[in-house]
């Protein structure tokens, strides 16, 4: 019953987010601030992780090729497929649920604890629109960092494959270009956009409706990470079935 009530409250929150918009002159600066915080602030960690995961995928694939019959370009092919189809859109989103999600929950939760949200509501400001809408708009740019993550991940695979002696540059590049299906990138970006909405709204929900003090802010951040990850994993399955199945 509690889960159903939470789903209902979440739906009402989403409706409220799009009601009674904040003045554009204020909203514009809020959106720019969120783009800086959520998008540019996450680029470093995603680039770092993508590079090394790409490298590990390439090494693991190379080490598992034991038969001479398997072409050498499989290392590049497997790296590209893993990075574009799953690692960049899905696992980067799980990482973002930890980084961006806990930031969103704790910042909104702290505003709740310190009565700043009450202050907004008393003034007649639609607090949900003021706090959550700029995050949703900022995260529309999320596919941009996922595109960079794809590029860096494949580059990391090439780097580890070539400099680790697991593949030649030519074989790797041939594998990356082999049987390329452009729709796979479209599929990845569709998933990314759906996950971006989840990343903005579920952590906001946990922060906005939290009750208690500083300890509860920490608990809300943990709960929000768990639920954001669970929803991303479930939606990943559903979207994959719908788009590729």
């Amino acid at each position: 019953m509690n889960y159903l009530a939470s789903i209902g409250s979440y739906a009402i929150m989403i409706k409220e987010v799009f009601r009674k918009p904040t003045k554009w002159s204020i909203m514009k600066s809020l959106i720019l601030k969120e783009i800086d915080e959520l998008i540019f602030g996450s680029m470093g960690i995603l680039i770092f992780i993508s590079f090394f995961i790409g490298g590990v995928v390439a090494i693991q694939t190379a080490l598992n090729i034991t038969s001479e019959l398997i072409p050498k370009n499989l290392v590049g092919f497997a790296t590209r497929q893993s990075i574009i189809l799953e690692f960049a859109p899905t696992f980067c989103s799980i990482i973002m649920a930890g980084k961006v999600g806990s930031y969103i929950t704790s910042s909104i939760g702290t505003m709740r604890v310190t009565e700043q949200i009450d202050a907004l509501e008393v003034m007649g400001v639609n607090a949900l629109n003021y706090l959550v809408f700029p995050k949703i708009i900022a995260l529309i740019l999320y596919p941009f960092i996922i595109a960079i993550s794809m590029y860096v991940g494949i580059f990391g695979g090439w780097f580890a494959g070539v400099f680790g002696g697991f593949s030649t540059s030519a074989d790797f590049v041939e594998g990356v270009q082999l049987d390329f299906i452009p729709f796979h990138v479209t599929y990845a970006f569709i998933k990314t956009l759906v996950f971006a909405f989840i990343l903005a709204t579920i952590p906001s929900f946990h922060g906005f409706y939290m009750k208690g003090g500083a300890l509860e802010v920490g608990k809300a951040a943990t709960t929000s990470f768990v639920w954001t990850s669970v929803v991303i994993i479930i939606l990943n399955y559903i979207l994959t079935q719908l788009l590729l199945g």
Binding site: K20, T22, K23, S25, I26, T110, T114, E115, Q116, D118, A119, E121, V122, M123, G124, V125
Partner: protein, 255 residues
Amino acid sequence: MIEVKDVYKSFGDTAILKGISTVFDKGKTNLVIGQSGSGKTVLLKCLLGLFSPDKGTISHDGKIYSQLSPKEQRNLRQDMGMVFQGSALFDSMTVEGNVMFPLEMFTKQSPSEMKDRADFVLKRVNLIDAHKKYPSEISGGMQKRVAIARAIVMNPTYLFCDEPNSGLDPRTAIIIDNLIQEITKEYDITTVVNTHDMNSVMEIGEKIIFLKNGIKEWEGTKDEIFKTDNEAVTSFVYSSELFKKVRKLYIEERD
């Protein structure tokens, strides 16, 4: 003037307000006192329109909040200023940004007009050199003054203060109390202050409402509170030795 008529409010099975009726007068500092859990904050949130009463009505100069359209409710909210217990200043904004926030949100003033208005109200609360500081860089007393400045920047008709001097030293608390009273007179505002502080009661209590377990137990002025025989009021107000002595002196002087 705010008129509260037979207001009831419960959360689940717990009844918080049990038929409160009173009038908060215009141009006066109206104090709501009572022990923790007596329903003061819930009453204040009902006055602000953050909670709807289960039964009864609250009218702000004849306008019953629950009967207004959402647009009229928003307009009425803009006529209200609120000073929160913890100040509730926006951490990410400077003192000036906090004070200008309602102006930026709800008026079409130019940036220079808004700045002038913010300067004026900050000067009014005796804050001159703190414009560019962040809330974390100023003292608790200064934060309260910024909160008052933010509450009055839109020229409100109603000012609500939830324990405005909690956590302040007695000297700063008196400064804040006097500031609230001065502003109430100066702008002819209906001010409602929730407080535990008996110094506030003696300093600024032009009209005092005492709540006990969600019921209005007593109502009067700061002079009448010395004379009352209501046991619930006397045991709450004169619980400290200092106030017992103050009351004894008052009675001796009177007799």
